[in-house]
Amino acid sequence: MKSRFIILTIALLLSALSPVVAQDVPTITIATWAGVDEAAEFQEIIDEINANTTEYQIVHQPTPAEYYTVVQTQLAAPGTGADMYWMDQDNMALKADGVFMDLSECLANSEPGTAGDLSDYYPGILAVNEYEGGVYGLPWIAQPVVTFYNKALFDAAGLEYPSPDWTWDDFIEYATALTQDTDGDGEIDQWGYTATDWPPPYIWIWQAGGELISEDFSSAPVDSPEFLEGLEFWLNNAYNPEMSPSAEIIAEQGFSEMFRAGQIAMFMGGAADDLDRVEGLDVGVVRVPGHPETGSHTTFAWNASTVINASSPLAQENPQLLCDALVAITEGIHNWKIVSPRISQATVEHLVAAEPRKEASAEAILEAAQDMRALPVFGNFAEFGTIFWTEFANPLLNDETDLTPEELAAEIRPELEDTLP
């Protein structure tokens, strides 16, 4: 009786497994941080790919909560995770840990002009995915920081709108002039600009000729005069009562919310942000101001990629199939997200086709994209970033240190360099 029961149970389990065993077309899973709306849009891309192939079927696994904790625990336990993952620039640091599949070989024969053609990517953005001669992810977005400005506030102050060749000096002039007590109660209620630790200081540091990390990753010259010049510009603008609200007011009323409420004249945000379509606001977009002497308008680009889990069984059995699916997915995303990280797609037509609501700002966004830079990501970048922010940038920004930027930079430099490869 007992043995019959055991045999019956095993038979039932095997029959439950049969759809998996009998399936001819491999299932490829992709995990993302997409929330409800983003996941629904992404599903449309996946459905289209699935409908046009008999080679594989892609299944989306949205994981909006604690995404990177989930990803790390899955990657640390080989064979348990998805086949592909979305990774932002900071987490592309995992490329140094051998957990992502090297794509160089399987992409070698990609058609020119497709998402698999590595020569079509902005080199600085692709570099985030490169490590020791290999390529570990395909970028799907490179979103440059641009300046959104409230035209009505400029008009009311009798100011010309910022032109693409504006400089730091112009910016300060505008920001100061637009900081006003509009209702005459003795308190400022409109500010020219707003900043916290965003936008990041790298923009101004790079424009001034400074570097966070040297090109060969051998030093962190945070005490160079160029670096400090850019840093000072960043420090002087944030929470400066002459042009921007205090940290407390921002914490209370919301950062971008103040711009949406018409209290802020200029806001620096990602090109894909919806600040240029706030109901009731007429908003213009222009690239970030440039350095008055170097003339550089370099801006920071937030970027993300899709990677293949090196320990996925499919990556061992059929890496080319995964690569093909990755290219198809990435192609789809390049026609959905802005800004596409591909040089051949840097056209107004392509950008507007992907996001028709950006028609008015498309030219300014593409102009900014020509000057965008990504962070120099390396294996230990998380530790580097933490030291940079918690022991250097934030204490200076929040007046939590009694050292000057020069003194703190000299003190922190060895600590930062200890983390370099």
Binding site: A16, L17, D97, A247, A251, T401, D402
Partner: protein, 374 residues
């Protein structure tokens, strides 16, 4: 219609779960049979067999992981590369503390502290003072916040829980309803509760609105509870008092119900007033329940996690140690350092718990123990 993709994704996991259960069942059966074959009595064999899954789970998921974290605390480990033995390096970094004397109030802390050390505590006395700094300043700031929170919030919370239990022990109308209402906070999701508190403590929130006359007269500006380093700890303690109305009150209420009424009658005959009865009957008889609540509340306060995750504090205040450990592990991927921090926290919890246990002989009254000694 069932999504075939989702079925293919999740079915193998379900099958694995079922297979593991069947596997454990088979092992239990084998172990049971082996015990019987060895001549062990049927009752004992059944007991051991039934406890076996729990024991295996405890060894695999508790003993092994605790041992592994101790080992990892002596390594450099990022989850993906093999752990590299570094000996006491993680602990040395955490305990790299320096002490400096201030010759004047204007002197900068950085001038008197060792290089790469940041201030944790600065005390100004007269024209001078002293500064304590550390290389792992964020850890010690967080430890300071966590310890202060535990030391201040637990006694206040216990006193509040006792007050609530005494109220619920009265003969009032709708007692059942009151008890349900006071227990409700214990079953509310912590995250929802924290978001509510965050909203209540915002600058235009209900707390600032209610205290408007006080701060208008004193500072003239509404308090910024979580961004002002002076106010963050009091705000957290107020949030912690929420737990007063929950399990602690219920345990104390059960303790109050268990006090024999003849003790109060005897006290009445002796002419004791309400205070005397509370002081000399209620408190001693309730002391085992108070002791239990003190120990569990202290451990829970030192292990607070969610508050750190949902309420950001300034760098100078630090955060709750468990949240810091999580960040060190999963944001910085320093599993070795995170494990070392966890072990220091564990030792502190053990020390405080041992202290409470040692003190219990002075203030906890166990009727059975007294009778045994007599």
């Amino acid at each position: 219609m069932t999504d075939p993709g989702a079925l293919n994704t999740y079915l193998p996991t379900l099958v694995r779960y079922v297979l593991v259960m069947i596997g454990i069942g088979v092992i239990m059966l084998v172990v049971y049979r082996v015990q019987l074959a060895l001549g062990i009595k049927r009752e004992a064999a059944t007991g051991r067999t039934l406890v076996m899954p729990w024991l295996i789970g405890f060894i695999v998921f508790n003993v092994f992981t605790i041992g592994a974290s101790l080992y990892l605390s002596f390594t450099d480990y990022n989850l993906f590369r093999a752990p590299e033995w570094v000996g006491l390096e993680n602990y040395q970094e955490l305990f790299d503390i320096s002490f400096g004397t201030l010759e004047s109030r204007d002197q900068r802390s950085s001038d008197v502290l060792a290089r790469r050390h940041d201030e944790i505590i600065r005390v100004e006395i007269g024209d001078g003072g002293f500064v304590i700094g550390a290389r792992s300043d964020s850890f010690w700031r967080s430890m300071r916040l966590t310890l202060l929170y535990a030391i201040l919030s637990v006694p206040i919370g216990l006193a509040g829980a006792l007050g609530v239990a005494l109220l619920l022990n009265q003969k009032v109308k709708f007692l059942g309803l009151w008890r349900v209402l006071f227990y409700m906070p214990a079953i509310l999701p912590t995250v929802a509760m924290l978001l509510l508190w965050r909203w209540m403590f915002s600058q235009n929130g209900i707390i600032n609105s209610l205290t408007f006359p006080i701060w208008r007269l004193t500072s003239g500006e509404a308090p910024r509870w979580f961004t002002d380093p002076q106010l963050a700890l009091p705000a957290f303690i107020i949030i912690g008092l929420w737990g007063v109305f929950g399990a602690n009150s219920v345990i104390l209420l059960a303790g109050l119900k268990g006090i024999p009424t003849d003790l109060y009658e005897a006290a009445d005959i002796d002419g004791a007033g309400n205070w005397a009865k509370f002081r000399y009957v209620t408190i001693p008889m309730l002391s085992p329940a108070l002791f239990y609540n003190l120990v569990t509340s202290m451990i829970a306060a030192l292990q607070l996690f969610e508050v750190g995750a949902f309420i950001q504090t300034p760098e100078s205040v630090g955060t709750f140690v468990n949240w810091l450990i999580y960040q060190e592990a999963f944001t910085l991927r320093n599993m070795g350092m995170a494990s070392a921090m966890a072990w220091i926290l564990l030792l502190i919890i053990l020390a405080l718990t041992a202290l409470i246990f040692r003190s219990s002989s002075v203030w906890v009254f166990y009727q059975g123990a007294r009778e045994e000694r007599a």
